[in-house]
Amino acid sequence: MHLRPRLRYLVVLGLAGLVLAAVGVTAAQSKPLAANHSTASTILDGTTDTVTNVDPAGNYDYGSGTVDILIYQHLLDLNAGSTIPAPSLATGCKANASVTVWTCTLRKGVKFSNGDPFTSTDVKWSFDRVNKIHDPSGIWGLISNLKSVTTSGPYSVSFHLSTAQSTWPYILATGAGEIVDHKVYPATKLVANTDVKDLVGTGPYTLSKFTPGQQAVFAPNPNYAGENGKLANGGLIITYYSKSSTMKLDLQKGTIDMAFRDFTPTEYTALGKTSGVTLYKGKGVGIRYLVLNVKRAPTNKLAVRKAIAYLFPRQDIATRVYHGQVQPLYSMPPAGLPGHTNAFGELYGMAPNAAKAKAVLAAGHIKTPVPLTVWWTPSHYGDASADEYTEIQRSLNASGLFKVTLKSAEWATYSKTLGTQYGAFQLGWFPDYPDAEDYITPFYGTKSNFTSNGYSNAKMDAIIKNEEGAKTLAQRLTYIKQAQVIAAQDAPIIPYWQNSMLVVGRSNIHNMKKTIDLDYLMRFWLLSKS
């Protein structure tokens, strides 16, 4: 048996190699929680969101935004219970007569978490960075109207805009306006997510450990002055999940205390009935809509678009597919936002109306059933999209007026194609700021329309231009309402539901209701744990 010693030798060698390889992979060092960090009052949250970049200049997605509002503050912030930007790092902002220059006065004595003082240099630095870095996944598109930022003294800063923009205060409250420390952040480069000691802000928390795709650990910021509400807990750990089903099981087991975004409708319903956990629900601002291409047959005919609008099964989708977790929506700006009207409901009725649909098709001399291909995407908007579009297909077909073929494409292909090849297609929208304007301009402006559905209406363009330069809120809202009426008449897009802000928490988490409002922001610092 001369093989034996050799075999043994090999096995030992193999094992040694494995151990060496393991020890060899000493990667990015990360600090554990500070010793004084109290684990008892640390909130354990779960989410299926993902984080692209923590650095504000490099993200434009909800998951990163949720992390950023914990670390950074804005000149104006959307405080709990209000959709109007309120003073935060600035004590106030004012526009000039032409609404092209906004000047803000800064709060004194604010310190970053590393002790650096906050001044106007930091503000200019932060905005300039966003534009200079111009990151592919960055938010710079939101401040494309910003020509330059000037400072006058350490506590005054002015934003010079290319065209009049009455909603600039809202922009200041978005991720594009998060203020970073100019001494730490490079001017032309992002700070890596794992360099947590360099991710300095003035917000309620500091990031103490970040493991991409797995975990973000937050500790209270000792220098936070409580501009947006006092810190009610001793820290926060967000665990990232790739599947909501595992997150649900962990929540039920108590591995995590709460979960925000996102479960499937079935899971939400089940969680609503589970003892020990509470499902909190408030109106949301995320919407879902069907885009109709006005350049491609058959939706290039107004009668066809109107017939679809008459037939749309909003209530069935809301109850059957989403178990009441979404509300039927009859205009692009969701209910609850100032300026919202039920434009589609007024024009086409609140419930599907097959007779009217038939009449409008007949008047347009259109042969029925109209063959219609509807595109949807399987995972990007959640698994329930499959059910949602099956429901739409079923009810359009059931009227006998349409013959719907469903087609799907993965998001990567789908998002690139949209109106360039698809005739009718599913999309969702989450606003950059909670204002009706953000539900009009990106969809109906000839130049700003990103759906490539070919819609263009001079009247609409004029309304949008007037709205952007309007001086008072009341004026703005009049234009917003006019735009919605035209949008319903032309029907290039059919909005059909608005979501709810759904949070699930175990019984040891309190004050959840404080943060549930139309801002759709999870202000973790307001929550407490017992």
Partner: protein
């Protein structure tokens, strides 16, 4: 004097020789073989007669103007319950059998059509073509099969509309190197056999030799690999479905996709949407594996148990058969 009759006779002898072990199979091999045949047959019948056997269509949600309940418990009307889309679980399983077998059948056919001839040619002629193909196939082999299938399915998903075709191609690509490898290695060992040498000496053309002498010898192995690969292909297809690639839900019923949708149900105490499709996968794969293993055991002389051990000149080293199981 090689008349058609003689040729035919020679061919039937070849087939009979290949089939002989099956008739002679005994003991466990026999049990496995026939259990496998039985189980596979059940699914084949389900697939063929789906329109007759299935209570409803795979995407049917109403009957007689009555809408099915969502996530309903198993009952008389729905033996296995209903899904979140109000479709009948049993019907989806029956129609799913059709999808699975369609994809697997296509995948095997593609794999054989591409892999076997390549292996024959590369093995018989050798030279740079052989070396190049071997290198290429080895490189393909270095990819974890599922990974390769996912990437291919993802790729094709954008341009090919039939999910069945996408899945079949994705699966095929992972198996071609296997067929190629087995066939080529086998051909190399057969190439030097005396009877092939003899044929060559008599001036037979290479393709005649390949067709008449080598092919039949080599092809004996193929059913074993094919059945075992079929089992593996079902697993790959369901894995693709589980991850959301391949057959899309609007195109047909697919068990893996159904299980993935059922994961969220299961955590909420709804067991019937996941358990039944899951079991269907297990049963079909078990059936195919038993069939393949039984075949392997009856054909592979190392494992074979027969009353008389006959000397078989034509059979080259059958290790290839055992090796492919290991690979």
């Amino acid at each position: 004097m090689a008349t058609a009759a003689v040729r035919l006779q020679r061919r039937t002898v070849g087939i009979r020789r290949a089939l002989a072990p099956i008739a002679e199979a005994r003991g466990m091999a026999r049990t496995m073989l026939w259990t496998g045949v039985g189980m596979t047959l059940v699914f084949v019948l389900l697939a063929i007669f789906a329109p007759l056997l299935s209570p409803y269509g795979f995407d049917q949600y109403t009957s007689g103007g009555h809408r099915f309940a969502q996530l309903a418990h198993p009952s008389h009307a729905h033996l296995f319950g209903t899904t979140v889309q109000s479709t009948d679980v049993l019907s989806r399983i029956v129609w799913g059998a059709q999808t699975e077998l369609e994809v697997v059948g296509l995948a095997l056919a593609f794999g054989l059509v591409v892999g076997v001839p390549l292996g024959l040619i590369a093995g018989y002629f050798g030279g740079p073509f052989d070396r190049g193909t071997v290198l290429f196939m080895d490189a393909m082999f270095a990819f974890p099969p599922l990974l390769l299938a996912i990437v291919i399915a993802f790729l094709l998903g954008g341009s090919v509309n039939s999910g069945v075709l996408v899945a079949a191609i994705a699966i095929t690509i992972t198996y071609i190197p296997q067929y190629f490898r087995v066939v080529r290695n086998h051909v190399i060992s057969v190439r030097e056999e005396p009877y092939v040498e003899a044929a060559r000496a008599l001036g037979a053309k290479p393709f005649t030799i390949l067709r008449r002498y080598v092919f039949f010898n080599v092809v004996q192995n193929v059913p074993v690999i094919a059945t075992l690969n079929a089992a593996d292909a079902v697993l790959t297809l369901t894995a693709l479905g589980f991850l959301g690639y391949g057959v899309q839900p609007t195109q047909g019923a697919e068990w893996g996709y159904d299980v993935s949708r059922a994961v969220s149900d299961a955590a909420s105490g709804i067991w019937w949407t996941g358990l039944f499709p899951g079991l269907a996968i297990v049963l079909l794969v078990t059936g195919l594996t038993l069939l393949g293993e039984g075949l392997n055991e009856t054909i592979n002389p190392v494992l074979r148990r027969r009353s008389i051990r006959q000397v078989d000149f034509a059979a080259p080293s059958m290790d290839a058969g055992a090796e492919l199981l290991e690979a």
